[in-house]
């Protein structure tokens, strides 16, 4: 249970505070309601590139990292398809430094062509390091446009292509900043050894005079219901074949979300999970196997992925994955198996509540979804799922015409 207090500034900035007196630290999280899904299809990767520029200085703070380090702090950020999230932690007595830094870059980011060019180079190297110069690194660059026809989830946060990053202009940067980086489009959370009243005072002082812009009321094209199975093969210089199967599923705020999440756990979370126990250990068809949900705010994907041993024909291996998934449609889970995956949810949420940074992040993320208290209802929401819900949701997800398959292998396995 993460208790919190909320205060909304006149300019729309939502401020939430959780007090934890057992730590000497304070964690500060700022979530901006903008992600890769808000990008233009010919300017992809921009939200993430922009995140890099947020560390390149603002009107009164030429060196963001340097100033934070001076206060004993450390920070980072990430961009997803849905959001851009900045987080830092520092000794609680230096909390005000965080407000000075975060408010200055929200108010007046410094723009320059040189900084843009350098970060374009850095992000290009990130693109190469994480996606192009890794075995299987580009699989998701292929998988997204296969699974999605129209929704912007069809591109990855890094972008469709390096050329998009290269082509970004300073004007793009300015426009993006003015559209999305303002108090009404942000959520600020603080957790740690802090007084709520003090945090609200600091928020008024440092963020109070920043002008709000329009709330991001996005109108994204919904992904139409898929009507037939989609298949793709990719030939690459990799030692082993890998199969990716992606099924459309509901959005995070849908009542069936928790059942779908538990389905992925039943399949491949833990050594006793079905795919791991049966196809990796017993039948020894796969050397690695995995299942997970993308967990997006808009309707996302449930993914099953595995690397079959070369003795097994990839098509046959795919069929075995399908059969295990389909078994969840046909046969109900036992109470024990259902309880097992629910226990995991309870434990992992409890473990994460021992971390001030995780608490600040979660409060912001659930506040974005409507109410930070949704976070505290999670365990209960999972506990409510019944065996028949699992079967019903599995039947909705595991349909052949809801499936996109990628076969990723070398010249021996991909014809």
């Amino acid at each position: 249970m993460v208790k919190f207090q909320r205060h909304i500034l006149p300019n729309g900035l939502r401020v939430l505070v959780h007090r934890d007196e057992t730590t000497p630290l304070a964690a500060v999280n700022i979530l901006y309601d903008v992600g890769a899904r808000d990008e233009h299809s010919e300017r992809t990767g921009f939200a993430h590139l922009f995140e890099h520029l947020m560390f390149e200085g603002s009107a009164n703070v030429p060196r963001f990292d340097y100033e934070l380090q001076h206060a004993g702090g450390e920070n980072n950020a990430f961009t997803t398809n849905d959001i851009t999230n900045y987080y830092l932690s520092l000794p609680a007595q230096n909390l005000e430094t965080a407000f000075w830094l975060e408010s200055d870059r929200m108010m007046a980011l410094a723009f320059s062509p040189e900084k843009l060019l350098t970060q374009q180079n850095v992000v290009t190297e990130e693109y190469r390091q994480s996606y192009l110069n890794q075995p299987y690194g580009d699989a998701w660059l292929l998988m997204r446009p296969l699974a999605y026809d129209v929704h912007p989830y069809r591109w990855a946060t890094i972008g469709k292509d390096i050329s998009h990053i290269r082509d970004a202009t300073l004007q793009d940067v300015k426009d993006f900043f003015h559209t999305y980086y303002h108090p009404a489009n942000a959520i600020l959370t603080v957790s740690g050894n802090v007084e709520a009243s003090r945090v609200f005072e600091l928020a008024e002082k440092w963020f109070g005079d920043i002008h709000p812009g329009p709330v991001n009321s996005r109108k994204l094209p919904p992904e139409p219901r898929q009507s037939k199975e989609k298949r793709l093969s990719a030939k690459r210089d990799v030692p082993q074949h890998q199969i990716y199967m992606a099924f459309h599923m509901c959005a995070r705020n849908h009542p069936d979300f928790h059942a779908a999440d538990l389905i992925s756990d039943v399949l491949a979370n833990g050594e006793s999970s079905r795919l791991t126990a049966r196809l990796l250990h017993d039948q020894k068809v796969f050397s690695e196997i995995n299942a997970y949900i993308t967990g997006n705010l808009d309707p996302g994907l449930l993914v099953i992925a595995g690397k079959p041993h070369p003795e097994t024909d990839p098509e046959k291996a795919e069929d075995m994955l399908w059969k295990e998934a389909y078994d969840l449609v046909v046969n109900p889970l036992t109470e024990r198996e259902l309880q097992k995956v629910k226990n995991r949810v309870e434990a992992s949420q409890t473990y994460s509540e021992s971390n001030v940074m995780a608490k600040a992040m979660n409060l912001a993320y659930y506040e974005l979804q409507g109410d930070a208290d949704l976070y505290n209802q999670q365990i209960e929401n999972y506990q409510r799922v019944k065996a028949e819900d699992i079967q019903r949701v599995a039947a909705e997800i595991f349909r052949r015409d809801n499936l996109s398959v990628l076969h990723y292998g070398n010249t021996d396995t991909v014809k």
Partner: protein, 425 residues
Amino acid sequence: MPDRTQPPGKELIAGIPYIKPLGAKLGNGLPVYFLEGGTEEFVKIDLVFFAGSYFQYKPLVSFATTRLLRSGTNTKSRLEISELLDYYSAHLQLDAQKDIVSVSMYVLNKHLEPTLALLAEIFQDPVFPEDEMRTFLKNQQKIHIINQKKVEHLARTYFAELVYGEQHPYGYRLKPENFDMVERDDLLAFHRRWFTAANAFCIVSGRMPEKMEKMIAGHLGSLVAQPDEAAKPPRFQMLTSGSRKVKLEMPEALQSAIRIGKQLFNRTHPAFHRFKIANALLGGYFGSRLMQNIRQEKGYTYGITSNIISLVRSGYFFIATQVGADVSEAAREEIYRELKNLREKPATADEMESLKNYLAGSFLRSFDGPFAQAERFKELLVFGLDHSHYDEYLQTLKTITPELIMATAADYLNEDGMMEVVAGR
């Protein structure tokens, strides 16, 4: 309106709020330490055995023994063990390193009793079924082969071989055929010899339920105290001299992985603290010279880092990065330039203040909460140190000067003996 041109006032860190470990010794000789704290009803159990790859006669034996502990006992199959661990959502990690085997388990207090019983059983009574072992090794072999396609992995493993030599377990580079050479008897013997109470310690951290001590004694007190026959650990020759370079040509690579460094010392060495601080200035944090130069000014890389790694019988320093293949040579030159600067160019007042404050904050963060404190305490026990070691670090941090950093770099980071691997182009 606030004055935005001036940073708000800052206070320095006064000290670290250590949680005092309460020690006990079980009947079988296993030392156990309790670190109480935290807000949620769960604990972490750390078990450390001095049974890393240093103690093995054959590659992979420590790794396979460790990872296969949970693959079956006389009364439970692999699947039964896994089902119980998953059901109780015990987050169990079995990690075989160079010197130690590190076991850690998070578990909710309400599931503690049955989980501890299971943990004790897999340590006391593993049978290492032949079939489970073969499956595990075959799957690990596949992962190994995929890793050979990663420039970062190649640079890392070839670098260790350069620094310690191909005969020494600190330097040994695994080959695919090693995975076919492990026998079940190797694991049984290795387990019998090294996974004993006399060769281990335990740390329990978190918000403890009542009778925690009794529960631990009841379960972990039954671990075998001593091996019947105490075979000696193998002896290895460590390479100590020379300066060697390796270039691994990969014509298709988009990036090159670069690793430069040398054999040094571990955290028990008198110069360790000042070296650690000098290293931070060079490449130990985002504000470091290497990061600022090679990423933030030149844009050659997504990241670059340097560090000193402590092993029980040695230690080494390294710089690692992945850069665009077209700037591979330019990046190498910049790295050597920064090494030279560290020896010759005193840190500015700005650099010093930023470095000291950042390191103090980062040090405080590394002690945040009982689980982090358990981690830091474990490090002390492995090296036979106590908390005064950390006080000395803070003291060094307070008093270190630009001159001392330069002198440290001159003592330990000259180019003699520097090893270098470039994997890529």
